[in-house]
Symmetry: C2
């Protein structure tokens, strides 16, 4: 399933028409700034127009978990959130966000119907993609041991790139964060996997030496 962008099949002109219909507004944020601190209760539908942003949860003990990293044409809104704790949206780089009221996308428009149909199709496809990605993550998180979490994660990268030479797309510290395991315990397990000849590893570069499927 190829990644769908929210503006798939829509020209820049079409995009302008849509955003105009939605009464969308645009805001700019500098690197490091908190874009939103109440993601759970927002009624806005948000599109990242440029830059990179992180959706972050702060735990009781002060540690943080990156829930999602978003880039150009990715979307976020109340659906990105868990109901329990509040999530923060933070600009990883300078970023531009377009926002409009969530219910706008359900309006029946008499003009530009084709554009709205296309937009709707994109929304459905993106949500379905996100749901699948989230289900992937659940599968990894439900693995009981650190070893299985790692192997499961490696396999998902393998299937994405169809290569046994994979590169972790973020720092090892963030990987531990993503897998929800202790970093030092993860390093220990990586070492075990190396010692047992299952992988080669240097920093974020990992070579899978075991048979897959």
């Amino acid at each position: 399933m190829a990644k769908t962008s929210i503006f798939n099949e829509l020209s820049f002109q079409d995009q302008d028409k849509l955003l105009n219909d939605f009464k969308a507004r645009s805001s700019s944020f500098s690197k490091g700034v908190t874009i939103m601190s109440n993601l759970r209760t927002t009624r806005d539908f948000n599109i990242v127009k440029s830059g990179t942003i992180n959706i972050i949860r702060f735990n009781y003990n002060g540690t943080r978990t990156i829930i999602e990293t978003l880039e150009e044409d990715d979307i976020f809104g109340h659906f990105s959130s868990a109901t329990q704790e509040e999530l923060y949206v933070i600009a990883e780089t300078d970023a531009e966000i377009i926002s409009f009221n969530y219910d706008q996308i359900f309006q029946r428009y008499s003009k530009n119907i084709d554009l709205h149909y296309q937009f709707n199709e994109n929304v459905v496809k993106i949500l379905a993609n996100k749901l699948q990605a989230t289900n992937d993550r659940i599968q990894i998180l439900t693995e009981k041991t650190i070893r299985n979490k790692l192997l499961n994660y490696f396999n998902s990268l393998y299937k994405k790139n169809l290569s046994k030479n994979i590169t972790i797309p973020f720092s090892l510290t963030n990987l531990a964060d993503y897998l929800s395991i202790d970093r030092s315990a993860m390093m220990r397990e990586l070492k075990n996997l190396k010692d047992e000849g299952l992988i080669n590893q240097k920093g974020k570069k990992i070579q899978l030496l075991y048979y897959i499927n």
Copy 2:
């Protein structure tokens, strides 16, 4: 956010028109039967018309994890799946399923436009709901200790019912499954919580004795 059904705001007549447009087909399954063994690759959009079904993953070691339990008017499809392992759809009770090709929902229909708009709105809302529920589950799974997983889960039930007297909606065995923890370790932790006076518990009935928020 109230739960949206796929046929929200659509009369039975409207439903028939839609399903006719979609060239939908209906199938019946007896309790215990495997409805589908290749959820990952299906191109169908499926609706549960009656009964209860489970989406299940079988782990290497033979244990199973219930990914989702679905009832009347719930939907499932490739978006329900993780890309790694294959998921099974199994009839928990006698069940009736309606299926049609996934791409049908993106067709531009000249007739019954309002119905299709409404259906599309329902699809988006349901997917957003599911995404939120899945994010909830991720939050619970990222908790590091059994105690925190339990408390987090109890809190989510508390927030749903706004009562400190909660009832686990499935067996304790399945709860351990859902939280991805060892059942006996979970029982031990439940006992600890009781001994420390944080909860009362008898079977699936739990009373929360601690201060929330």
